[in-house]
Symmetry: C2
Subunit: 210 residues, 2 copies
C-alpha cells in the first residue's frame, strides 16, 4: 500500500504532519512525501523548511492520496496547478482520496467533490461549495472513497478513521495509543459553535470567513 | 518573546509540529527551529527531512525552550549530548522550559526535573524517574516554570496550556479555533487505562514499557 502526501509551498505543516504521524506507523504501508518536484519547500509561516525527495511524477498512482491545506489553496485551487492536475490524474486509480482542512479545495478543483458532501476548515465552506460540493460541519466526512477532514488538527481524526477502514479497529487503536492521542484541550473553543463571540470575531478578522 | 524548539536527528515530528502549529500563531513571538547545527536532519521514520537554519549557539537564551521526544532520547539522555548541554545552559534564563513526550528525558538529563513532578510518554515513566522526577500520568504537568506534556499528540494541549499562561485564555482560544482543535477521535484508546488489553499488549511489544 502506497500512501502519497502531496505537499506544496506555503502549506500548513500540521495538516500534513498529523496524518503522517498516524499513517507512518502502519507496518505494511509506504508513506511518500511528494511535491511538484523534489527539493526544498517552506510552510505558510516561512519558518519550517522541508526537503522533499519525490516529485508528483514519482507517485502517480498511489493507493491513498492525501492533501493538506493552507491559505494559499484559495489561490491554487484551479485547473493547471500541478497539485490539482496530480490529484485529477491519480484519483480514478486510488483506493481513497483524502484531504485535511482546505486541502479539500484542491480536491474540489480537481473535480473530485462535484455533487459530494465534504468538509474543510470552518472558514472555507463557501469556497468548498463553489466546486459543487455540499459543506458539512463534521469532523470527518466519508462519501465512498473520498474522505475529507475539518481544519488543521482534524487530520489526526481523519487518518485514524481511514486506518480503521483499511486496517481495522485494533490497528487504529494501537496507533492511537502509540501517539497517546487522548486529547484534553485546556479550553473548549475548537469550533465556531463552541467559541465565544469575542474569539470568533478575533479569528474571523484574521482568517476571513464565508 | 523568543521560542526555541530544539530538534535532533530521529525525533518524532508531531511532538514538535503540534506545539509549532500553536506557538507559530502568536503575533508577538519569534519561533526558532534549531538543532546542534544548521543543516538537514531526518525524523524517526527517516521519511521526513528538515532543513534547520539555526544552531543551538544561535538561540542560547530563549524565553521559552521546547524539546520534542523520540525513541532515540533513551540513548541521548546523558551529559555531553549537545541538546542536553543546550538545555542545561539555557534553563536558568528561560521563562518556561517545556517538553513533549520523551523530550522530558532530555530535560531530566539536563538536571531540570530533579525532585520535580513531570510527565512523558506513558511507556517512559521509569526512565523519567531515573532522573529524580516523579512521573504523573497527566496530560500536561506544570511545576513552576517547567511544563511537560504526555506522549506525541499531547504537545498541542501543552502548547495551548502554555499560551493560556503567557497570553491569556482569549489568545489561546483564538488559536484553538484557528486550528479547529475540536478533537473527536474515532476510537477511545489514547491512554493505557482506556485501551483494551489486546491493544496495550500490541503497543507494548513494539514500544517497550516500564
Amino acid at each position: 500500500m502506497q500512501i502519497a502526501i502531496g505537499l506544496y509551498e506555503k502549506m500548513t505543516a500540521l495538516d500534513a504532519m498529523g496524518p503522517y504521524a498516524v499513517l507512518s506507523q502502519l507496518p505494511d504501508a509506504e508513506v511518500v512525501l511528494c511535491a511538484e518536484r523534489a527539493g526544498r519547500l517552506s510552510d505558510d509561516n516561512g519558518l519550517l523548511h522541508l526537503e522533499v525527495e519525490a516529485g508528483f511524477d514519482d507517485v502517480s498512482t498511489p493507493d491513498i492520496l492525501l492533501v493538506p491545506g493552507g491559505f494559499i489553496t484559495r489561490t491554487m485551487a484551479h485547473e493547471g496547478e500541478p497539485i490539482v492536475e496530480w490529484i485529477r490524474a491519480a484519483h480514478p486509480h486510488t483506493t481513497f482520496t483524502t484531504s485535511v482542512c482546505t486541502g479539500a479545495l484542491l480536491l474540489g478543483a480537481a473535480g473530485v467533490l462535484d455533487g459530494l458532501e465534504a468538509t474543510t476548515h470552518w472558514s472555507a465552506y463557501g469556497e468548498l461549495e463553489s466546486f459543487g460540493a455540499t459543506a458539512i460541519p463534521e469532523r470527518v466526512v466519508r462519501r465512498g472513497k473520498v474522505i475529507t477532514g475539518a481544519g488543521v488538527s482534524a487530520g489526526i481524526d481523519m487518518a485514524l478513521t481511514l486506518v480503521g477502514i483499511t486496517h481495522g479497529g485494533v490497528v487504529a487503536e494501537a496507533i492511537q495509543l502509540g501517539i497517546e492521542y487522548d486529547p484534553q484541550p485546556p479550553f473548549d473553543s475548537g469550533s465556531p459553535s463552541k467559541a465565544s463571540a469575542e474569539v470568533r470575531e478575533l479569528v474571523t478578522a484574521v482568517m476571513g470567513h464565508d
